[in-house]
């Protein structure tokens, strides 16, 4: 049987990778993809907990369902914003979008 800690360590690794991507990529859509990786890591740890620790109302699973729903909404809006950015700035690299910098 795979111990719970294995799943949690895997979730931590995926979260770290996603975090690195979200902080250091330049392409706006890459950042969104790294955020999706982070969401997945979190879902994995929710479901791992739901399996290994007794839960009266399947909180882990239900929370994971809501995380997936919210991730879908966030991806849609994020991509709409990226499209708007591309139309106005003709670039999708986030460090070239610095009109509001002092």
């Amino acid at each position: 049987m795979v111990p719970l800690s294995h799943y949690l360590v895997l979730s931590a690794i995926l979260f770290g990778i996603g975090l690195f991507g979200a902080l250091s990529r330049r392409h706006a859509i890459s950042i969104l993809m790294a955020i999706e990786v982070m969401f997945n890591a979190v879902n994995l740890s929710f479901i791992a907990f739901s399996r290994y620790l007794p839960q009266s109302q399947m909180q882990g699973h239900v929370f994971a369902v809501f995380v997936i729903a919210v991730a879908a909404a966030e991806a849609a809006i994020g991509l709409a914003i990226v499209l708007g950015l591309y139309r106005n700035f003709k670039t999708v690299n986030v460090d070239e979008i610095n009109l509001m910098k002092w």
């Binding site: 799943y7 360590v9 931590a12 990778i17 993809m33 790294a34 999706e36 997936i68 909404a73």
Partner: protein
């Protein structure tokens, strides 16, 4: 090493390798394809955790919805980019350190913090139970998420539509 452990290590290595490709790839379409396979790897892990409903929902929504959305956006915003374009910005060292420190902290917390039982508790039949719970105990969050999705839809359509002259 039992079959379950072997499958776990394989799927874990698969998911981690693909996530690394997602954050490090030069070509963004390859990163998106790696993301797709990473989601599938995670769906496999969910099945290993007896969460078959979540695995199917993960494939349906993440792979069948979000990644298609991502690919569409990539196709619509692609420019002729040369090979030498930098992929990572100037924060890469600091964010790398932060990510590694976070991984180590979370890993330590995971291996020392939780007392998992020796044998697994019995999992109720997944889909009917989740369905019932969504309609009874979690009815309010369910309705709130549907309003959120509606707002998201309207917002995304509004933001992304062509501007009238």
């Amino acid at each position: 090493m039992s079959v379950e452990q072997g499958l776990f290590y394989f799927l874990a290595a698969f998911s981690v390798a693909l996530a690394l490709i997602v954050v490090l790839a030069q070509n963004i379409v390859r990163a998106a394809v790696a993301l797709i396979f990473s989601f599938c790897g995670l769906a496999g892990l969910y099945i290993l955790l007896d969460a078959e409903f979540l695995a199917a929902v993960q494939v349906l929504i993440y792979v069948g919805g979000i990644t298609i959305l991502l690919l569409f956006a990539i196709l619509l915003t692609s420019r002729i980019a040369g090979k030498g374009v930098r992929v990572l910005n100037e924060q890469k060292v600091v964010s790398g350190i932060v990510a590694v420190v976070l991984m180590v902290l979370l890993g330590l917390a995971a291996t020392r913090g939780f007392e998992a039982p020796a044998e697994l508790p019995k999992q109720p039949e997944n889909t009917p139970r989740i369905g019932t719970l969504l309609m009874t105990t979690y009815a309010l969050p369910f309705e709130a998420v549907s309003i959120l999705l509606l707002a998201g839809m309207v917002g995304a359509i509004f933001l992304a539509r062509k501007e009238e002259k």
